[in-house]
Structures are given as C-alpha cells and as structure tokens.
C-alpha cells in the first residue's frame, strides 16, 4: 500500500523544528533580553517572560481554539467507532479519537501557562464564546468519511500546524511538535483506509468518492479566509506566531493533494483544477467563503448538535466532578488531622 506522498517532507520539517528548538535553548539570550530582542533573535518566549498583552491574548485565543477543535473533533469520528467494519479498524479509530482527547489536554495545559484557567476555557467553549475549527460542524455520513477526514482534514491540519512547531511561544511550539507527529500518523492511517475503499467493491468506491466530494472544499476552507480578509494575520506574522499566509498554506495543501488523489484513484471535485506551469502550482477553485462565515457564525449543519453534545456531557458529569472534589477535600483534612 502506498505511503502518503509528500507527508515525509512535512514530518522532516517537524524534526528540523525540534532540532532548532533544542539549539535555541542552548544559546539562550541573557534573562533581561526584551520581548522584541527575543523575537528578533528567533528565540522562544517562555511563560515567565514579559510579553505584550495583545501577544498573550492572541495566543490564548489561538491555542484555546486549537484545543477546543480537538475536543469537538472527537464527535464526528467517534460517530463511527461503534460501527467500524473490522476489529482492526475499530481499534485504530478508537486510538485516534483518544489521541485527540490527549492533544486537547496538552494544548489546554499550554494555554494555562499564559494565565488562563481550565475552567475559563471550558466555559468559553460551552457558551460558544470561543470557537473551534468549523470543519467539525460537518456530518460524517458514511464510513468513508473517517478515511477522508484522516486524509484531507488531518492533512490540512498538518500543513497548518507544521509551521507552528517554530512558533515564538515555547510551550505552544513544543506541544505542536508532539501533535504533528501523531497527526501525521493519523493521516497515513486515514489515507490507507480510504485507499482500501477506493480499490474495493463498486459500493465502496462510490462511498470513497462521495466522501471526497463532501470534504474537499470544507478542508480548503480550514486555512481561513483569503489573505486580504484575514484579520489577525499581519500582527501574528510579525510576532512569529504565524509564518505563512492562509493562501500560501492552502496552495501548499492543494499541491500535495493532487498527486495523492491520483494514487488513490479518486477525483477531486474541481473541474478547474490544473497545473499552472508559470506559477509552478496547481490552479484551483476557492472554497465558498460565505459558507465558511455562515458556519463560523453558528449555522453549519452540526454546530448546534456538537455544542449540545458537549454541554450535555459536561452537565451529566457534574455530580462526578463534585464527588471527586468532595472526596479529595475530606481526605486532605484527614491527612492534616
């Protein structure tokens, strides 16, 4: 079975970022260096360093949104655990969804280093005050969606996240290195699962194509609005949180997917997709950004369902969390006595 063409080079970039991080730690500037000097020297800002309020707030927003996406992202794929068509696929999917919970946990921990509490972050998700990736507001309608999400959604996430391994905030950069390694493993599993379907019975092939048809444009929209309309981008680039523009990353993703789709034997649903010799890139049709904005604002197919599910789990678990807290309090008193 083929590997995911192009994925090796992304993983190579993660390894390089990890090496750069270790190297940067070895040549740390003296403790008094200003925020600007640290950024200019491409060093890492650490939790106890001084930083502009807007840098702190922007990172909290971004890391929290990323963590929330991992948590909400458990739902669309979790939807197929009970019906996975072989025990091997069931184990792979269960492990993947568990990894997402784990990613959420260490991203929340990274956000907490910026002075925000877990409870505040939970509330911000449950009340819709903070967003999560809009991609998870689309439904998983067939088993092939699990493969398509692995290939396209995890693929887009990796393209987005690999540059974050070099982000200027140390705890986020370190979390992203770990997340990217696991995501790339997930992407390979998704791709291979889709490959089996695309080589399978006529029904399985149709299922695979239908999933690709539904997930292609929402995946392109994951890179955010076009550069001209992107509100947070310029400052974020200057602070070296973000290193490439939305459109640059989107193009990189399209260029990766085209040869992968050929190997899979599925058709990307874009009649205008073609190689542009002059640009050295594929030309492609942009996703519907008005649809993206509708989904971001809460009117996608599953927004209400996803948030209601999370709220219900939170409410149903309240008595358990209270019990754990009461038990811990009683026992600490016993120890003191």
């Amino acid at each position: 079975m083929p590997g995911v063409a192009g994925a090796e080079s992304l993983l190579g970039e993660v390894e390089e970022a990890e090496a750069a991080l270790r190297e940067a730690a070895d040549r740390a500037l003296d403790g008094e260096a200003s925020f600007e000097a640290v950024i200019a020297a491409d060093q890492k800002i650490e939790p106890r360093d001084a930083m502009p309020d807007a840098y702190r707030a922007g990172l909290i927003r971004q890391i929290a949104q990323h963590a929330h996406s991992e948590i909400i992202g458990m739902q669309p794929e979790g939807n197929w655990i009970s019906r996975a068509p072989s025990l091997r696929r069931k184990a792979i999917l269960l492990a993947k969804v568990q990894d997402e919970a784990g990613h959420g946990l260490y991203l929340y921990a990274a956000a907490e280093t910026l002075g925000v509490s877990r409870a505040e972050l939970d509330t911000a998700l449950l009340t819709g005050k903070q967003k999560y990736s809009s991609i998870f507001n689309y439904p998983t309608l067939s088993w092939a969606d699990v493969g398509a999400i692995g290939w396209l959604v995890d693929g887009a996430a990796i393209v987005n996240q690999v540059p974050l391994c070099r982000c200027s905030y140390g705890p986020y950069a370190r979390a992203m290195i770990r997340v990217c390694k696991e995501e790339s493993f997930h992407q390979r599993q998704g791709y291979q699962s889709l490959y089996v379907l695309a080589q399978g019975t006529p029904e399985q092939r149709a299922m695979a194509q239908d999933a690709v048809d539904r997930w292609w444009y929402p995946s392109l929209a994951m890179f955010g609005p076009p550069d001209a309309d992107s509100t947070h981008s310029a400052q974020s680039m200057a602070w070296r949180v973000k290193r490439f523009s939305n459109d640059e990353l989107r193009q990189r993703f399209v260029d990766m997917c085209v040869p992968q789709a050929e190997i899979l034997g599925v058709t990307l649903p874009d009649p205008d997709l073609k190689w542009n010799e002059e640009r050295g890139h594929y030309d492609y049709t942009s996703p519907d950004f008005e649809e993206l904005m509708r989904v971001v604002k809460g009117d996608g197919p599953c927004n209400r369902q996803r948030l209601a599910h999370r709220n219900r789990a939170h409410e149903d678990g309240a008595w358990v969390r209270e019990a754990a807290a009461a038990y811990a309090a009683k026992n600490s008193r016993k120890v003191v006595a």
């Binding site: 458990m74 072989s86 184990a91 568990q98 784990g102 946990l105 929340y108 789990a313 678990g317 358990v320």
Partner: protein, 232 residues
C-alpha cells in the same frame, strides 16, 4: 478453569472482552472529565485488544465478531448490560460498579490462563493480567471517590451496584470466593452495601442473552454485514 483452556472458555473470555469494549466505547466524548475520557477509551482499547487475541486463537476475529447472531455469542450477561439503568443510558456510577465487577473477574480468569500449559493462551493471559490490574485499580479508585464523595454520588453508585450485582453470579462461576475477596474489601472501604444474592440470572455462556445484546450487535455489525465479502 482447567489446566488447559478449552476453545469454549477462550471464546467466552473473548466475547466478554469484545462486548465490554463496545459498551465502554459509548463513553467516548461523553466522560465527566477529559482525563476520564482518555482513561475510558484506554480501557476500551485494552478490552478490544484482548478480545482480538482471544478470538484469533479460536478462529477468524472478524468472522466471529461480525457474522455470528446473538445466540452464538458466549459472553456473560454482565458484559452486555447497558452502562446505566436502561437502554441507551450512560451513568458513571453504574459504569464504575460494572468495571469493578468485570475487571476483578477478568484479572482472575487471565491469571489462570497465564498459568496454564497452553503457550499461546498463557501469553495472552500474561499480557491481559497487567491490563486488568490497571482497570481494577481505576474502578477501585472511583468506587472510593463516589462512595465517599457526596450524598448523590453514594446514592448513584449504590444504585448501580444493586442493579448489576445479581449478574456477578454468572460472571464468577468457579471463582466466586476469590472474586469476593477482591471486591468486598473495596465495597467496605467505599462505605457501600453488598447487595443480596437472591436473584441469580445467567445463560449467556449458553447463548441465552438479555434483550440488550441484539441491539448492541445490530449496531456493531451493520456496516460489515451490508457489504458481504468486502475488505476494509
């Protein structure tokens, strides 16, 4: 269990683990905390892993999991019960009572398997013993917290224990005393009452199940059965 595990015994243990994994996976994205979501998924994965090894020792794992009807399954009734008072319910107090009962029994069965003379079965048992030890500890910790937490948590966990306890008889056939020696001290420490032993439902090992199993299988097998002969 005798010195050499029979196929029927391996199948029974494999079915227990498979059906338990299917039940536990219902908790994914619904647990009281994110940490507990990870822990429950982890236990479900261990159960699934053990099930796959045990079923593969008897036949083809997917044939056994997806092509048998409910009356051909040999799991004990406890494994298939909903993890709450009724169909579709998920209650954490019931779930931890269930896990305590199940993992204590699995620990004993796997220990016996590991000590037997069948090499393949012994290897499966040895790996599963370590996992069951962790599952049992996880359940025990929660029984203490829920039993010693709030009035509500004590009421709910006792309710779960009362609902599930009768099914412990079939679960522990042949290992009852050893099982009680593990479970009773946990109940005592958690301040929970040991329910009475009057009603003793059984029949799972002979393929006579509760109403719940066929729903569980209908969901689990639906996709596989819709595509006969397909590879996944």
């Amino acid at each position: 269990m005798s010195e050499v595990a029979t196929e029927v015994e391996l199948l029974g243990l494999g079915d227990d683990a498979l059906i338990a994994a299917q039940r536990l996976a219902e908790w994914v994205s619904r647990a009281p905390t994110l940490e507990e979501d990870v822990a429950l998924a982890n236990i479900a994965l261990d159960q699934l892993g053990a099930a796959r090894m045990l079923l593969a020792a008897v036949g083809d794992e997917d044939e056994l999991a997806y092509r048998r009807d409910d009356h051909q399954f040999r799991n004990c009734l406890l494994a298939e019960l909903p993890l709450g008072p009724g169909r579709g319910d998920l209650d954490f107090g019931w779930t931890m009572s269930w896990l305590l009962m199940l993992s204590a029994a699995q620990l004993l069965r796997y220990t016996d398997l590991a000590g037997g003379s069948d090499e393949q079965a012994a290897a499966i048992g040895a790996k599963a013993v370590k996992e069951s030890t962790y599952h049992l500890d996880h359940a025990r910790q929660w029984m203490l917290r829920l039993g010693g937490g709030t009035e509500e948590s004590q009421r709910r966990v006792q309710q779960g224990l009362d609902g599930l306890w009768p099914y412990g008889h079939e679960l522990t056939e042949g290992i009852r005393d050893r099982w009680l020696a593990i479970v009773e001290p946990v109940l005592a420490e958690a301040g929970l009452k040991r329910p009475d032993d009057r009603w003793r439902p059984g029949g799972g090992r002979d393929g006579r199940h509760t109403e719940h199993l066929s729903y569980l299988l209908a969901e689990m097998q639906s996709l596989h059965r819709a595509h006969p002969g397909a590879q996944w």
